[in-house]
Amino acid sequence: MKRREYSNLVILILPTLITFSAFFLLPMARLVAIGSEGPQGIGAYLDIVTVPRHFESLLATLLLSLIVTASALAVSTISGLFLERNRFPGRGFLISLLTFPLAFPGVVIGFMVIMLAGRQGLIGEVTKLLTGSKIVFAYSMSGLFIGYLYFSIPRVILTIMAAAGKMDPAIEEAARSLGAPQWRVIVDVILPALRPGLIASGAICFATSMGAFGTAFTLATNIDVLPMTIYTEFTLNANIAGAASLSVILGLITWLALFVARSLAGSTAAAAG
């Protein structure tokens, strides 16, 4: 009986394992291998640090991702806490609006940035009215920053609201009963309680920003983030080995960030059920 059940379970999961191995594990292994098939061999993996353009690209991407993460966390914490702890008419609607962009692909977000800050963008028109000169920043790092912020905020807000919702309200009341003014309650009690959620969503934010491609692609070509570098290496320079090695490294970075998030956010690592 046990053996029959075991083999039935294997039958159920085998298709997935086969598909996955064939279409993900093997190709990824191949990619790693190809990364070292160029003229420099395995040395290509060091390119990211040694070739100035690549290195700058890496730094730019890291810096951008970090700044986006910090900003998204700040903005979302304020709004997320506010929404979770206050009930007022229209709250549900506001929440839906805020989480609506969750499903937008990067290209659409790039388009949104153009709407806001492009040559005919809203900000351009407004600044033209106010100061006489148009501010256009969609096609630069600032535009990318806006775009990344755009898709990060909904995610982080949801996480913050969930974490804030799980807090025992009595703890806050206890702090107040001991005389703590509102700011102290936030610093001493609320933020520490949110810490796991902040770390987790911060890491996701970072990983997503590192690996984002669609937004940069839409906002055009003089933006030098790592995914764009990979893309140009592959399509324009036909440098397959270079593109491969860079992708592998990028993949490692994002995976590492998410891994850190999971270990910090969860307690013990028990699978479901």
């Binding site: 009341e173 009963s177 005389g179 520490p192």
Partner: protein
């Protein structure tokens, strides 16, 4: 903190919540300095709302006033009232150690380091938790957590100590033990305390006075003895302990009913309901008895036997006796009721 503790007065405090629920009808209450008052009642009776109004976590409806001694604190938020509060879930700060928890109120008041340390040590000694100083909150047992919560609340020398069902989350044994400790603590400190519970044993043992509440209103205020021996309403009589009800007709110096009669000294006439408690009964010979019933079930509790009797106009009567005999189901039992213990609520 004054010598005799802070007096609390509530005037016309009502509370209707945003969703329209009327949790509290206008309530007036006077609590003397140093007194321990217990708010007792079933869930939803308004006792927690009252406590939170005293605390400053809820604002009473317009017209209500809260006074600490002569200070009107109605519009003061909780963080400015200088109270100590103990919560049902303990509400200890998970990101701080035990020491840091107890020290928190003192840190907020910006006392200097030495003063804080001294006071925390004093509190931990008083609550007998000195060895837990550096433990993390999630490593504490229920009883330990409650002691830490008490220490934390008292450390700031509050004017008033408010306790919101602090023992409800503990098992029965711990509850009984901690009840004694809390009682000793409150007496030793001489602090004014308001204690909310639904457990009448807790209320009776801790309270100088008990406020019995039901459906947003006060049913009765009195000492434990008042409440027990002289319940003012049906609700109080039923809620506290066990009560027996006998319906009968007043005829001269007795109340006559199906199962016999009861002595009656208050005069008057007509139909009446008389109440008495199980322990105010003595089993006698049928000739001397007031009432007779038939045993439905009997419970030997060691120090006494509890009998459930039928034959009282469709109702059952519970009596307790120290008589050592066994009373099997179906046995006829005759008993007298102590005349002083009879309670009548409608006249």
């Amino acid at each position: 903190m004054t010598d005799h503790g802070t007096a609390i007065r509530l005037e016309a405090c009502a509370k209707t919540f945003a969703n329209g629920v009327r949790a509290l009808a206008p309530l007036a209450l006077e609590i003397a300095g140093g007194e321990t008052v217990v708010l007792l009642g079933p869930s939803g009776c308004g006792k927690t709302t009252t406590l939170r109004i005293i605390a400053g976590l809820e604002v009473p409806d317009p017209g209500g006033r809260v006074l600490f001694d002569e200070d009107d604190v109605t519009v003061l938020p909780i963080e400015e009232r200088n109270i100590g509060m103990v919560f049902q879930s303990y509400a200890l700060f998970p990101n701080m150690s035990v020491r840091a928890n107890i020290a928190y109120g003192l840190r907020v008041r910006r006392l200097d380091r030495n003063a804080i340390d001294a006071r925390v040590d004093e509190m931990m000694a008083m609550m007998d938790i000195a060895e837990l100083a550096h433990r993390r909150i999630d490593q504490l047992s229920g009883g330990q957590s409650q002691r830490v919560a008490l220490a934390r609340a008292i450390a700031v020398r509050p004017r008033v100590l408010l306790l919101d069902e602090p023992l409800t989350a503990l098992d029965a044994f711990l509850r009984t033990r901690l009840r004694v400790e809390i009682d000793r603590l409150l007496r030793g400190l001489g602090i004014t305390a308001v204690y909310v519970t639904h457990d009448q044993a807790e209320a009776m043992s801790l309270g100088d006075r008990i406020v019995v509440m039901n459906e947003g209103r006060v049913a009765q205020v009195g000492t434990p003895r008042d409440i027990y021996y002289r319940p003012a309403t049906d609700f109080v009589a039923d809620f506290i302990g066990t009560i027996n009800r006998i319906r009968g007709v007043v005829r001269g110096d007795r109340v006559e009913c199906r199962a016999g009669h009861l002595p009656w000294s208050a005069g008057g006439g007509g139909e009446i309901e008389v109440l008495f408690r199980p322990e105010d009964v003595t089993i006698t010979a049928p000739d001397d008895a007031h009432l007779t019933g038939r045993v439905v079930s009997s419970f030997f509790l060691g120090d006494r036997t509890k009998l459930i009797l039928e034959g009282f106009d469709g109702r059952e009567v519970v009596i307790e006796t120290t008589d050592r005999r066994e009373f099997g189901p179906g046995t006829e039992v005759a008993f007298r009721v102590d005349a002083d213990a009879l309670i009548s609520l409608k006249g």
